[in-house]
């Protein structure tokens, strides 16, 4: 492409030069032609290259947008690409965090809690049913309570751990609390009943005392609770009934008052002959009184009903309390019953009073009705006779004629006759009526009497029953006190009897002991003397024996010391042999196998643990094959060094053939000191392969195989692999030498030790 351009340029230059005389037009033409030509091809080239580069960059960016790993790779390898990417795509997204499914768990736990709640309710019901059955054991009631509480505690733990605190445990525990008390209530009386039955059966085994005491305490507590609840119930009921009864009585009294007033007013209205206008007001007042009376009577009736209902309720409560059969509650029950009784009596008396007042009022109203009727009748008759006369006959005196007057008088006479006849008839009938009325009255009186008698009888019966119960209570208390005193007396008698028996026994035993005594005293005296003799004799014997033993030990220790000395000598000899074998190494061959010498050591110090341990600490290779000497290792080192230098660049990441070529090049071109003194502390830059090798060479030349081995150990990568063999050999040699030196030191020490007196 370049040649084409050059050719084009040359031809253009030649043409321009030779075209000096040619007019401007072709020059321009040819110039424009050639420049256009070269320009177009150059332009094409430029355009094509721009397109390629742009396409490459764009493709890279697009792919980086799609694959974040590719983007990271490119950013690592090409500098400033991260900025380009940042401009084009925005910052790289961080790696996605794994979202643990935490949301799922609370939902599950809440559903679990629902299950717990549901499962608890049937459990509570089961507990109730179980407790109602007559079991001999009270424990089923506390055990379900415990499991319920445990379950609720577990649920509470789980829920609190997750972080939610629903109100599930609260109803659970509330239920658990509500269930055991009624269960206990029902269970305990049943248990108490069963307990008394158990006592009668002789085949039942005796319960342990603690259990009985606990059970009694339980029962007492339950009774106490019941008592308090009962008394509170009774008080409440009593209070309410008293209030209602008082209200009823008050209403009845009010009704009584209203009735009495109404009756009185009615009678007044009947008997008094007031002028007509006052009469109308009187009638109105009367009507008011009547309405008042009816209202108060209704009120009284309602109050009485309410009071009766309350009284029935109270009676029901008292009966329930009586069913529970608790002795201590009896006085309060009795008092409640008395109250009830008195209230009933009061109520009945008031009701009867109201009824009598009502009957009186009826009589008076009937009387008033009759009077009104008669008046109306009279008025009608008067109107029929003298139709033209109006009702108001005060103003009539001047208008009446003689005839009218006569007729009026005649009518009046007739009327009087009629009245007289009627009166006579009435008198006769009256007698009969009175007789029949008396009969009826007698009957009614009898009935009322019977009713009154029966109610009085009832009341009396109640009273007597209450008194009887009171007396029963008292006698029971007295009996209990007496029984207690008798039992106490019996217990006291028992202790006295025991004390007497014990005293008698003591006396007998003492007399027996004293009889047997005098003979024994002589025997003990004799025995003591012989024992003293024996003791002195044994002491002498022991002393002699001890001296003998001492002498024997001294002799033995001498023997032992000699033995020890011999052994130490032997050990020393064998260690020396081992040392000698170490020196047999030829230049490039290892020593002889050390096995023989080590075996000799082991035999010579069979009892010496330290030496045995050391002998076994020798590496197995040295035993079987022998170790190389320092000299041979030194010689080998130089070959290793060359090799290590050559592969200095190769390690786990760089190990292609190209790297090998580079490494070889480096080894050829890099010059380091043949030997360099290693510093006391190695810094990071000292860990370069070449430096390490020169340090190691220096230490080897100065006889420090150990330091050389340490330095060679710092090599990395392929150099290390190459030096591995040498390192292993160096280690073996070092180990063996160390063990052998230890052994010889030990042998020397032991030898020294045995020459001294034990």
């Amino acid at each position: 492409m370049l040649r084409v351009c050059l050719k084009g340029a040359n031809s253009a230059a030649r043409k321009c030069l030779c075209g000096n005389g040619v007019p401007l037009h072709p020059l321009q033409q040819c110039r424009s032609y050639t420049s256009g030509g070269s320009g177009s091809s150059a332009g094409k080239i430029v355009a094509a290259s721009v397109l390629t580069v742009g396409g490459g960059v764009g493709g890279t960016i697009l792919y980086a947008n799609w694959d974040p790993k590719f983007r990271a790779n490119v950013e690592k390898s090409i500098p400033y690409s991260d900025q380009v990417f940042g401009l084009a795509l925005g910052p790289a997204a961080p790696p996605p965090v794994i979202n643990k499914p935490r949301k799922v768990e609370p939902v599950q736990i809440s559903s679990m809690s629902e299950m717990w709640k549901d499962s608890k309710q049937p459990k509570a019901k089961e507990v109730e049913k179980k407790a109602e059955q007559p079991d001999a054991e009270g424990p089923p009631a506390p055990a379900p309570q415990e499991t319920l509480e445990e379950a609720s505690a577990q649920v509470a733990q789980i829920l609190s751990a997750i972080g939610e605190v629903p109100s599930v445990p609260a109803p659970g525990t509330h239920e658990a609390e509500a269930v055991p008390p009624p269960a206990a209530l029902k269970g305990v009386p049943a248990a108490a009943a069963k307990c008394t039955e158990c006592e009668h059966e002789p085949a039942v085994k005796e319960r342990p005392e603690g259990e009985v005491a606990a059970r009694l305490a339980e029962q007492d507590k339950a009774e106490q609770d019941l008592l308090t609840s009962l008394s509170s119930n009774l008080e409440d009921a009593l209070g309410s009934t008293a209030k209602v009864t008082l209200q009823a009585i008050g209403a009845q009294e009010a009704a009584l008052q209203a009735i009495a007033q109404h009756t009185r007013q009615l009678r007044e209205a009947m008997e008094a002959e007031a002028p007509p206008d006052k009469k109308s007001t009187q009638w109105r007042v009367l009507e008011d009184a009547l309405s008042e009376r009816s209202r108060s009577v209704d009120e009284a009736g309602a109050a009485v009903l309410k009071a009766k209902a309350e009284l029935d309720k109270l009676r029901g409560v008292i009966d329930g309390a009586k069913h529970l059969k608790i002795a201590a509650a009896r006085p309060s029950i009795l008092a409640a019953e008395e109250n009830l009784h008195s209230m009933v009596v009061d109520l009945d008396s008031v009701v009867t009073r109201v009824q009598t007042a009502q009957s009186e009022a009826k009589i008076v109203s009937q009387y008033s009705e009759l009077v009104n009727e008669a008046k109306a009748q009279f008025q009608k008759e008067l109107n029929s006779i003298t139709p033209e006369i109006q009702a108001n006959w005060k103003g009539l005196t001047g208008k009446l004629t003689q005839d009218d007057l006569n007729s009026l008088i005649a009518h009046a006479h007739r009327r009087i006759d009629q009245m007289n006849r009627e009166l006579a008839e009435q008198r006769v009938r009256e007698q009969i009526h009175i007789d029949s009325a008396l009969e009826q009255q007698k009957l009614e009186d009898k009935k009322a009497l019977e009713v009154a008698v029966s109610t009085a009888l009832e009341h009396n019966r109640e009273q007597m029953r209450l008194e009887q119960e009171k007396k029963v209570e008292e006698t029971r208390e007295v009996m209990e006190a007496e029984m207690r005193t008798q039992l106490r007396r019996q217990a006291a008698a028992h202790t006295d009897h025991l004390r007497d028996v014990l005293k008698v026994q003591e006396q007998e035993l003492r007399s027996e002991a004293e009889e047997a005594n005098p003979e024994q005293l002589k025997e003990t005296e004799y025995r003591r003397l012989t024992q003293d003799q024996l003791d002195s004799f044994t002491l002498d014997m022991n002393a002699a024996y001890a001296r003998l033993k001492g002498m024997e030990e001294a002799i033995d220790s001498h023997v032992i010391a000699e033995e020890e000395a011999r052994k130490a000598h032997q050990l020393w000899l064998s260690v020396e042999a081992l040392n000698y074998t170490l020196k047999t190494a030829a230049l490039n061959d290892p020593t002889e196998p050390l096995e023989g010498a080590v075996q000799a050591i082991k035999e010579s110090c069979a009892e010496d643990e330290f030496a045995q341990a050391l002998a076994t600490a020798l590496p197995s290779e040295s035993l079987s094959r022998g170790v190389y000497s320092e000299a041979s290792l030194r010689a080998r080192f130089y070959a290793i060094r060359q090799l290590a230098r050559r592969v200095a660049l190769i390690d786990e990441t760089r190990n292609s053939l190209y790297q090998y070529f580079l490494s070889y090049l480096q080894a050829m071109l890099l010059f380091e000191k043949a030997q360099e003194a290693p510093p006391a502390k190695l810094s990071a830059e000292d860990l370069d392969t070449f430096k390490l090798l020169s340090y190691a060479a220096y230490s080897l030349e100065h006889g420090d195989l150990e330091l050389a081995a340490k330095l060679v150990n710092q090599l990395k990568g392929e150099s290390r692999r190459v030096a591995q063999d040498w390192l292993k050999e160096a280690r073996l040699t070092l180990e063996t030498k160390q063990v052998v030196s230890l052994l010889s030191a030990y042998a020397n020490a032991v030898g020294l030790g045995t020459t001294m007196a034990p």
Partner: protein, 80 residues
């Protein structure tokens, strides 16, 4: 260990030589039989042989450092 490098190089060179020669041979055959005695199959065969030899050599030198790993799928029960 120290001799291993030498041994590897020996192997490598021998192998490369063999492959080169084989490539040349196959190239010549193909060139003569199918491609009308052009030069490019021969060159191609030589290149192939050299490439294979190079690759083998590299693999041999790399063999101590090659790691063979395998993916372990974590089962669902160990999500935490």
């Amino acid at each position: 260990m120290a001799e291993e490098q030498g041994r590897k190089w020996d192997r490598c060179l021998a192998d490369s030589a063999v492959k080169l020669a084989t490539g040349l041979g196959v190239g010549i055959v193909f060139s003569v039989l199918f491609f009308k005695r052009r030069t490019w199959p021969v060159v191609f065969g030589l290149g192939v042989g050299l490439g294979m030899g190079y690759s083998n050599c590299q693999q041999d030198f790399r063999s101590p450092y090659l790691l063979h790993g395998h993916m372990v799928k974590v089962s669902k029960s160990h999500t935490s």
